[in-house]
Amino acid sequence: MGRKGLGEFETSVLLAIVSLQGRGYGVTIADEIERRTGKPVSFGAVYATLDRLQKKGLISSELGEPTPERGGKPKRFYRIEAPGERALREAQTAVERMWAGVSPTGAVA
């Protein structure tokens, strides 16, 4: 991974890929993020992020079988790689460290 950590949307995309267990492609990843966050996401932004994550080596992709309902075109399924899992763990640890002993009301334990 680069010197910078994961962005917020990158984290969401990675988590969606993990939750879809290797069966996630562009449309389902966008749907999964919408379903989990309850907020609309930009389809183009999902692809931009997928391209970026793949260039960073955090995820990989492979083509599925062509299907007739997609006009004989295949789906590209995305899968998280070891550096991606590491980056997710780091992001989680960083957030947990920030939240440690702090409540949303401002009280410090």
Partner: protein, 166 residues
């Protein structure tokens, strides 16, 4: 991160100021769009799962829409109280993406990613954008999302925070 993605309205509202800030998903327009999408997905699933057994081989049906329609009518005869009208068929028929849009996508995407991405965009175009916005604005949406995924615009949006959290 801990609080999830901050909500700054629909991602679209950042991109198109003339789109109402919060799309009310209970609005009849949205509901009818979703219903049409579900109808088309259901019809497609019916076809894909082979319930239309007398429609012939898959490839033939894909190439011959009329045979698919006839087979659909026969298969749905038990559930449909009236014959499918032209309006019904228009809903079931996948909307065609303008050639210009597909050409633009091919320019923006590396050749190895073009096939699957064209199909993904077609799926999104036919299932969501056309029912929701109509064919013309759906084409605008298509072009915008193609541009949005390009590296330069992605960088600009992230650098200047125009897309909120996106």
């Amino acid at each position: 991160m801990g609080g999830g993605i901050p909500y700054g309205g629909s991602s679209m509202t950042h991109q198109f100021p003339w789109v109402p800030c919060r799309i009310n998903r209970g609005h009849p327009f949205w509901v009818s769009a979703v219903q049409r999408k579900r109808a088309r997905v259901a019809a497609r699933n019916l076809y894909v799962h082979g319930h239309i057994s007398d429609a012939g081989p898959v490839d033939d049906v894909i190439e011959n829409w009329d045979r698919f329609v006839q087979a659909s009518q026969r298969a749905l005869a038990g559930d449909v109280v009236r014959p499918l009208t032209e309006a019904d068929l228009a809903v079931l028929r996948p909307a065609q993406v303008p050639v210009f849009c597909e050409w633009l996508l091919c320019l923006a995407v590396e050749p190895e990613f073009q096939d699957d991405r064209l199909a993904d965009y077609q799926e999104q175009f036919a299932d969501l954008w056309v029912p929701k916005f109509g064919p013309r604005f759906a084409a605008v949406m298509y072009v915008w999302h193609v541009l949005r995924q390009s590296r330069l615009i992605d960088w600009l949006i992230r650098a200047f925070g125009w897309g909120g959290s996106l």
